[in-house]
Every structure is written in structure tokens, then in C-alpha cells.
């Protein structure tokens, strides 16, 4: 199948996951927010968040076990870029209250102005950063 079809199916699954979380638990299925909760909450409020994160790992593993087509190559970035990248993604999604799932899918789907603004800014910042890295700095 064409990558566009896989992308559309995968995207629909992300939408279904968001609707499931909203309809059953009444929560936004935002990965950065739920990950933060695994560190700051306790008891059963922590447990459901831990299970959500564990689910992401399980769900990521299943297609790769069924077909090597779904096993992505290791990232090309070196250790320094990975450390700085991880810190920036954590700091940025923490300050900005969300990431691609929370703002990009859940937030825009409920027409939240904060999420629309955040998504436009982080997409713009990412496009600009890749341009600077690849075409100006040649990293």
C-alpha cells in the first residue's frame, strides 16, 4: 500500500484513541501531559497514566513484530542532538501545555484557540529549524 494510506489509517487511529479517552475517561489524550502526570500524580491517578504510556510502547511494538516494514530505522541524530532535543521537547511541551497529540489533534479538534496558536508556532518553529540545520548549517 502507498505510504499515504498507512498515514491516513495511522492518523485515524490517533483520532480514535483521543475519542476513546474523551468519551470514557473525559480526558485529553495528550502524551506530554499524561507523561507529566505519571511523575506528579499518585495512586490510581498515576496508575491509569502509567498504563497509557505502557500502551504506547506496546502499540508501537506490535506492527514491528508483524512486519519489518513497520520497524523504523534508528534516528540518525548523534548523542548531543538527542540530549538537547529531548530537553527542548520536554521543556517546550511542559511550558506550552501540550504536544502534537494534545494540541495538534485533541486541541484543534475541539477548536481551542490556545491549541491552534501552539500548533502553528511549533510547526513553524520545526520547519524553520530543519531549514536552518539542513540548508544553512549543513548538520
Amino acid at each position: 500500500m502507498h505510504p499515504f494510506i498507512y498515514a491516513t489509517i495511522g492518523g485515524a487511529l490517533l483520532g480514535i484513541a483521543a475519542v476513546m479517552m474523551m468519551g470514557l475517561k473525559g480526558r485529553i489524550a495528550g502524551v506530554s501531559g499524561i507523561l507529566t502526570g505519571t511523575l506528579t500524580e499518585s495512586g490510581s491517578e498515576r496508575l491509569w497514566r502509567v498504563l497509557f504510556i505502557v500502551g504506547i510502547v506496546i502499540g508501537g511494538a506490535i506492527p514491528a513484530l508483524l512486519s519489518t516494514d513497520f520497524r523504523p530505522p534508528a534516528p540518525e541524530a548523534g548523542t548531543l542532538l538527542i540530549i538537547v532535543g529531548g530537553l527542548l521537547v520536554g521543556l517546550g511541551t511542559g511550558l506550552g501545555s501540550g504536544c502534537t497529540t494534545g494540541h495538534g489533534i485533541c486541541g484543534i479538534a475541539r477548536l481551542s484557540p490556545r491549541s491552534v496558536v501552539a500548533t502553528c508556532i511549533f510547526m513553524g518553529a520545526a520547519f524553520l529549524s530543519v531549514y536552518l540545520l539542513r540548508h544553512i548549517l549543513g548538520v
Binding site: G10, L14, P75, G86, T93, L95, R114, F122, A126
Partner: protein
Amino acid sequence: MFNRRTGVLITALASGTTVGLGLAISGMNNTERVLGFLDLAGQWDPTLAFVMGSGLVVAFIGFKFVLKNSAPLFADAFSIPTRTDIDKALVIGAILFGAGWALVGYCPGPAIAGLSYGYSAPLLFVATMIAGLLLAKRVGKLL
């Protein structure tokens, strides 16, 4: 049927697993593909636009349906963010997130899903991402 607490735990595991499946099937877990999408000036790979497009359509329609209920099935009320102000933390946070995403090609979900492939990169990325999330708690108070 099971009680509410069990329902929440099953919901969380099922929703998280669906996120992982969606990320793996769509190609979002492939940092090369993500960077190809973010590289407008290079050989632009539009694939990931389909991920966000279809995710948004499904979530938009689905939210309309489930939010017609007076409450979610396993909780007393919907916990939906109510803020509408565009503050400094939102703008600065989004800029930093976008820049960090561009460095490796990982946003939070794919980095976590990437833990299942046995590479060291996602492990290091998730560890530093958690450090960043904790740091944000302190930095947020200064803004």
C-alpha cells in the same frame, strides 16, 4: 460489567495502545520520515500531513458525538482545558518544542513508542525529555 476504576484502567491501556499502533502504522515513529516532512526546502515528504489530517477529522467528529453525553462513561465529568488566553509560556514553549522536534525528529509519542525497538536513542531522548518536563515546572513559575 466491570466497575468504574477498572474501566478507567482499561480505557487508558487501550487508548495508549491505539496511539502506539497509530504512530507505528502512520510512519510517525520513523524520524527520517518526520524530518523529511519538516524539510520544506529539501525533497519534501508530505506523508505526515495525512496523519494529522485524518486524526483531526476523526477526533473532530468523534468529540462532537461523545461530548453530547452529560458525562464520560467512567468519570463524573469531562476534564477539558478551559483557558483561552495566549500567554508567554504557551508561545515560548511551542517554539522550544518545535526546535527540539526538528533536532531528532521525535515528538513525545514517537519517542516513547520508539522504546520498543531496542535502540538507545529513544531511551536517552525520553530520559532527557522527562528532565525537560520537570524543569518546565520550575521555569514556568519564572515566566
